[in-house]
């Protein structure tokens, strides 16, 4: 946050300057020569000099490739390194070229700091990019990271290209190897424990469904409890695991592994969204698309909720990792709020920018990554918005179906 007038001025100037992208290509300068200039690049410059005063060459950033961090494959110290894998280029659309209106005018920012799965198409393969680390993925499988762990990521691996999809919860190592949690025919990974050492999955065998806690180190089952066929997972924080055994019943339970689950009061058909990094939680409208109040709550007593703040007229929301910032989406636009002060931030997104179901993924306590679909062709764009100070930048254009992109959680 900026406080002094000097800070504000410095910050505003730097932000305005950053609207000119780092990789802006000068007129007459071929991109391949940008860092290694040669005589060839002078053609445009000399031509410009000869028409000196009337040199009204209006260059544009026609196209370029997204750099997803450094193309290195060095794993963190003590972790196995992956084989090198070729970058899949994600094209960028020039302003006004792709029919995205004002969105096409947004400059590109830096690569996502969350783990991102990049595939040539929806058939899988590709790689997981996390910072400068790029890990190849199995052909024919998609992998969505749910959280970072020591020397890898926990997530859901999905086999593609067949009528019968296979879901596998497990660990993707920095070497690229995937280790499944056991041999259950169908299991869905839900989330990590607050300390990142355990994972909760739903295991389905012979028509029975059990919410199961596994030890990440060895895949050993620690605890389990019964759940329904369509389990809704709210999240896991220090209070316990919040889930709905059957999404259709709108009943939320809190389960502390080792005890019986208890019903949570005060949700009234609303959905609870829980992060492992904070005990503040979010209660959002249960029916997607119906605006209502979004509430920030904490657990008071065994199963009651106490309200910290509320923001009304929203269809969905997301709470920052530390619980200090709330971002809501709704028909009147997208807004940010400082939770403890109970007041809006500088962020206001126009209506229709954020999908009512997608509140985004937090990179840190200010920045949210959101995938938007832009009519009329519903081209997809990955945006990074600062929900405290305001402002958005493009991270990637995602052309139609290929290449495909999955943003994971940190």
């Amino acid at each position: 946050m900026t406080n002094t007038p000097y800070d504000r001025l410095t910050d505003a100037l730097a932000a305005a300057a950053r609207t000119v992208p780092d990789d802006l290509v000068p007129p007459g300068l071929p991109e391949q020569n940008r860092r290694h200039p040669s005589r060839g690049l002078l053609v445009g410059l000399v031509a410009a000099a000869s028409v000196a005063a009337a040199a009204l060459v209006v260059p544009s950033l026609a196209s370029g490739d997204t750099e997803l961090g450094v193309a290195g494959s060095q794993a963190p110290p003590g972790c196995p390194s992956p084989d090198p894998v070729k970058e899949i280029a994600l094209p960028r659309s020039a302003p006004g070229k792709a029919g995205g209106g004002w969105l096409d005018g947004l400059p590109f920012g830096t690569a996502a700091s969350l783990p991102v799965t990049v595939m040539k198409d929806a058939s899988g393969g590709g790689y997981l990019q996390d910072g400068s680390l790029r890990v190849p993925l199995r052909a024919g499988y998609q992998f969505q990271a749910v959280g970072r762990i020591q020397c890898g990521w926990i997530g859901l691996s999905t086999r593609t290209g067949t009528n019968r999809q296979r879901f596998d919860a497990g660990v993707l190592s920095t070497s690229g190897a995937f280790r499944s949690f056991g041999s259950a025919p169908k299991q869905v990974v839900l989330g990590l424990s607050p300390d990142g050492r355990q994972v909760v999955v739903v295991r389905s065998t012979a028509g029975k469904h059990r919410l199961t806690v596994l030890d990440l180190a060895d895949g050993r089952e620690i605890r389990s409890t019964e759940t329904g066929a369509v389990t809704g997972f709210g999240g896991w924080n220090t209070n316990g695991i919040w889930f709905s055994p059957n999404l259709l019943e709108a009943r939320t339970l809190l389960w502390r592994p080792g005890q019986e689950p208890v019903a949570v009061d005060g949700l009234d058909g609303h959905r609870i969204v829980v992060q492992r990094t904070t005990d503040r939680m979010l209660v959002v409208p249960g029916a997607a698309g119906q605006p209502d109040c979004v509430r920030v709550v904490t657990l008071a007593g065994a199963n009651r909720l106490a309200e910290v703040m509320r923001a009304c007229g929203a269809t969905d929301g997301a709470l920052s990792h530390d619980g200090s910032v709330l971002q809501t989406t709704g028909p009147s636009g997208s807004r940010g709020y400082l939770v403890t002060q109970n007041k809006p931030t500088r962020f206001v997104g126009p209506p229709g920018v954020f999908d009512s179901d997608s509140a985004g993924s937090w990179e840190d306590d200010e920045h949210v990554l959101v995938t938007l679909s832009i009519p009329p062709r519903f081209r997809r764009v990955l945006l990074r918005c600062n929900v405290v100070r305001g402002g958005c930048l493009r991270v990637h254009d995602i052309p139609d179906d290929e290449p495909a992109l999955l943003v994971g959680e940190r």
Binding site: T2, P5, A16, A17, L29, L42, L45, W102, V348, G390
Partner: protein
């Protein structure tokens, strides 16, 4: 009668072809390394990127034509000065042109761009644009490029004392404008 060729070049200067090669290579390198930063500097003065790119292009064209007078050691300072001068001219031209034609793109501090920058930054930038050009230049050089007073003085061709007094007045004025907009 035989004519006599008289060199107009400095004694000891390298042959013309070699000098041209040096100029080409050095200006090309400057162009590659500083194009973006010059566009950014111009953008902070004129507000929109197409115009900022024109201003930067003219500055590079200028240094190419005047390379012998500028020299490598002063190239960056020359470019900054040329960009600020070009921006001032562009704003002057725009004052007249605005009566007849809309600007090519909304300035970065316009309400249309609030979603890109955020309201707080937009307010600061909009207040900055209301300052006289010289004051704005001093603030941009100090708070964006973080130049010393001596470097700002060299870039703008004014004394260090003038830099300090201009900066002080500019900050006071900016503070009042921001206060008034609340």
């Amino acid at each position: 009668m035989t004519s006599k060729m008289v060199s107009l070049r400095r004694p000891g200067a390298p042959p013309l072809a070699a000098a041209d090669d040096d100029r080409d290579a050095t200006v090309s390198q400057l162009y590659a390394e500083h194009w973006t930063s010059m566009v950014r500097l111009a953008l902070l003065m004129v507000g929109d990127r197409p115009c900022a790119e024109d201003v930067a292009q003219e500055a590079f064209a200028g240094i190419y034509r005047r390379w012998e007078a500028v020299g490598e050691g002063k190239a960056l300072a020359y470019l900054r000065s040329a960009v600020l001068n070009g921006a001032r001219s562009a704003l002057r031209r725009r004052k007249v042109a605005r009566l007849y034609a809309p600007p090519a793109a909304p300035p970065v501090w316009s309400a249309e761009n609030a979603v890109m920058l955020g309201e707080d930054r937009r307010e600061v930038l909009a207040a900055l644009t209301t300052l006289p050009a010289r004051r704005r230049e001093v603030l941009v050089l100090r708070f964006y490029l973080h130049l010393s007073d001596a470097d700002i003085a060299r870039t703008l061709g004014i004394s260090e004392v003038t830099v300090r007094s201009t900066a002080s007045r500019a900050l006071r004025s900016l503070g009042h404008k921001l206060e008034a907009s609340r």
